[in-house]
């Protein structure tokens, strides 16, 4: 690419003059412009489609901006779109996702950070073995473990019901399978490998002297965790949160398997709305619904900037 510019240089060489419009630069910026347009195209199409009325969509082309801007599709997607017999829109899926998200993120980060801390600072016999299994577990296709987990959730739900009945004989059935809590457990389990790796690597890099000094002062496992490690590692907690919020919000497979229609997360409900076979296809409502579902991770992505990149690179960088 630079040989074109080098060959145009005449005479003896010195420090190369900076030229803004060299052919190399034109090629680089030109390519990047086209690439950016390609990546932005779907987002643009989603937005303009969701702001058009159906007649305009049927007549015009998908790239043209809306002649008459309407917010009707957004309202409809949020409050009226149908899945099966339910016509209360995506709002139900949104709140389901929120109720799944909050405990899942909290629990998975709490457990994984303690794991990482134990692995980094309190190694015990076999701890590395369990860690290795955990990391390899991240590569096992979910399909291999999905069914036995269904059984585990069902059985432990029954077990908990029995325990509750010891104290209160007419308590209703406690269910893990098909409930939000079952899904929370599943998210905690499958978030564990990457998060544990993230925290272990981070805690390993904390200066050893700090840890030793705290030990000398008589601080124990939890004391050091809460008073030294936790306050020192807030950035990594933010990275973990970004990773988990986007990951759990975007999950589809676990939502389909481990919840029931009235507790479906947003992604599952979105798919059911858009791909339902009955009725006339309302592309504008579909695109509004799609955008609504993508909004949460997009906002997090644009707001978090470099931290997002750090989160996704965490699994790739070996520590």
């Amino acid at each position: 690419m630079t040989d074109a510019s080098v060959s145009t240089l005449k005479g003896p060489s010195g420090p190369k003059p900076k030229r803004v419009f060299s052919s190399t630069n034109i090629i680089i910026y030109g390519t990047l412009l086209v690439v950016c347009l390609y990546y932005l195209l779907p987002l643009y199409v989603m937005i303009v489609t969701s702001l058009k009325g159906m007649p305009e969509i049927r007549m015009g082309n998908i790239f043209s901006p809306p002649v008459e801007v309407t917010y009707e599709p957004w309202v409809k997607a949020w409050a009226e779109a149908c899945t099966g017999i339910n016509c209360d829109g995506l709002s139900r899926g949104f709140w389901n996702s929120v109720w799944i998200l909050v405990p899942s993120v909290f629990l998975s980060i709490a457990i994984a950070s303690v794991n990482g801390y134990a692995l980094a600072n309190w190694k015990f016999k076999g701890s590395e073995v369990f860690f290795t299994i955990l990391i390899f577990g991240a590569f096992i296709p979910y399909q291999v473990m999905i069914y036995p987990i269904v059984i585990l959730l069902r059985e432990s739900g029954d077990g908990i019901t029995n325990i509750i009945r010891l104290f209160n004989s007419d308590a209703s059935n406690f269910r893990l399978m098909g409930s939000v809590w079952g899904l929370v457990i599943v998210h905690t389990i499958f978030g564990m490998p990457i998060l544990t790796l993230l925290f272990r690597n981070y805690f390993t890099s904390v200066p050893e002297e700090l840890f030793k000094a705290a030990r000398v002062d008589g601080a124990g496992f939890w004391g050091i965790y809460f008073q030294i490690m936790l306050p020192m590692s807030l950035p990594i907690f933010v990275v973990a949160m970004i990773l988990q919020v986007t990951g759990i919000w975007n999950d589809f497979l676990f939502g389909v398997i481990y919840t029931k229609p009235d507790t479906y997360p947003m992604t599952v409900q979105l798919n059911n709305i858009v791909n339902s076979v009955q009725g006339v296809k309302e592309y504008n409502v579909n695109m509004a619904a799609t955008l609504l579902t993508g909004l949460v991770p997009l906002v997090i992505y644009f707001a978090s900037g470099k931290l997002f990149v750090r989160g996704i690179a965490a699994g790739a960088v070996k520590g």
């Binding site: 630079t2 080098v6 680089i28 690439v35 990546y39 195209l41 779907p42 199409v45 989603m46 998908i62 790239f63 457990i111 303690v114 794991n115 801390y117 134990a118 692995l119 980094a120 600072n121 309190w122 190694k123 015990f124 701890s127 369990f130 860690f131 955990l134 390899f136 577990g137 991240a138 590569f139 096992i140 296709p141 399909q143 473990m145 999905i146 069914y147 036995p148 987990i149 059984i151 564990m192 390993t204 840890f211 030793k212 496992f221 975007n250 589809f252 497979l253 992604t267 599952v268 979105l270 798919n271 858009v274 799609t290 993508g294 997009l298 992505y301 644009f302 990149v309 996704i312 790739a316």
Partner: protein
């Protein structure tokens, strides 16, 4: 090294009974131990064992049938199509993501302006779910209102690009969406790798008068081998899991033309209640992961010992 020392001081402060040594840490790590043993090892073995049984609606551990499920699996057209699709999708998306990711990273590496903005734009699809990705591209590839229609309006009236309704090329329709979603991630990995390369390498190649593209091809790429390996492993693991994208974009259709193994497994387990076949199919998925994973682990951990 620091990590091992820290561990020793942690556990070596007192020396009571072996099992109770470091007890709090062991209790605190119980969720991890349980996940590793019960879910990752236990559930996997459970599925592998049951793939040799005649399980239908319910798991039937007592009805051992040997390799019968595998026999049926490999005789079934739908599974063969799934495998073929996965192979095509996998090979293409691997090559495309690596090439696109590398080229984009190289362009961004040329000390350009607006680097952050451009990187943000290229990476944003990665924040979106596969469901959203699949649905957007389903709409873009809509034959009567989407891209095909636009190109025809521009004057090329015989232009045909309708992959989602054409069984022969439907997998490429999914591929476009998949690469759009994932290539930004590869670019970020590659860019991080390039930034890790010593500036002296570039100085040397400039002194020698080697053009930039040659430097990338013959010097930078060989130096970035670990990054390529990591990217390869991560992309492959993602490819084998591909599920939501297909469900959202085509639901496996038209007919069974865009079936993939992950979809097949879920259908057999929860749709057509043929658990045995589902277990066998998922075991095959696991096997294909191992084919990628074992050589990688060998390289990775073999290399670490030399450090």
């Amino acid at each position: 090294m620091a990590l091992i020392d820290a561990g020793r001081t942690g556990s070596g402060a007192k020396r009571p009974l072996r099992l109770f040594k470091n007890m709090t840490a062991k209790i605190a790590a119980l969720p991890m131990i349980a996940t590793a043993l019960v879910v990752f090892v236990g559930c996997t073995l459970w599925t592998i064992y049951h793939s040799f049984t005649r399980s239908r609606l319910l798991p039937a551990p007592e009805k051992w049938v040997g390799l019968k499920n595998y026999d049926r699996l490999w005789g079934e057209n739908r599974w063969l199509i799934s495998i073929e699709n996965l192979a095509i999708y996998g090979a293409c998306s691997l090559v495309l993501s690596l090439v696109i990711g590398f080229v984009l990273a190289a362009l961004l590496d040329r000390k350009i302006r607006f680097e952050n903005t451009i990187r943000t734009i290229i990476l944003y699809p990665f924040a979106l779910s596969f469901v959203v990705t699949g649905l957007v591209w389903q709409w873009l590839l809509n034959p009567t209102l989407g891209l095909q229609n636009v190109v025809r309006e521009w004057g090329w009236t015989t232009f045909t690009f309708d992959p989602l309704n054409n069984a022969a090329i439907v997998i490429f329709g999914i591929l476009i969406a998949g690469v759009w979603q994932g290539s930004g991630f590869v670019m970020v990995l590659m860019l991080a790798g390039m930034r890790g390369i010593d500036e002296d390498v570039w100085k040397a190649s400039r002194v020698e008068g080697i053009p930039a593209w040659k430097t990338y091809l013959f010097i930078v790429i060989p130096m970035m081998r670990p990054v390529f390996v990591t990217a390869l492993v991560i992309i492959s693991a993602g490819i084998i899991k591909v599920y939501d994208l297909v469900v959202a974009q085509t639901s496996g259709g038209p007919g069974i033309a865009s079936q993939v193994p992950a979809l097949y497994v879920i259908d057999k387990m929860f749709g057509s209640q043929n658990l045995g076949l589902g277990f066998a199919a998922s075991t095959m998925m696991l096997l294909s992961v191992l084919v990628v994973l074992i050589p990688w682990a060998y390289l990775e951990f073999g290399g670490k010992k030399n450090d």
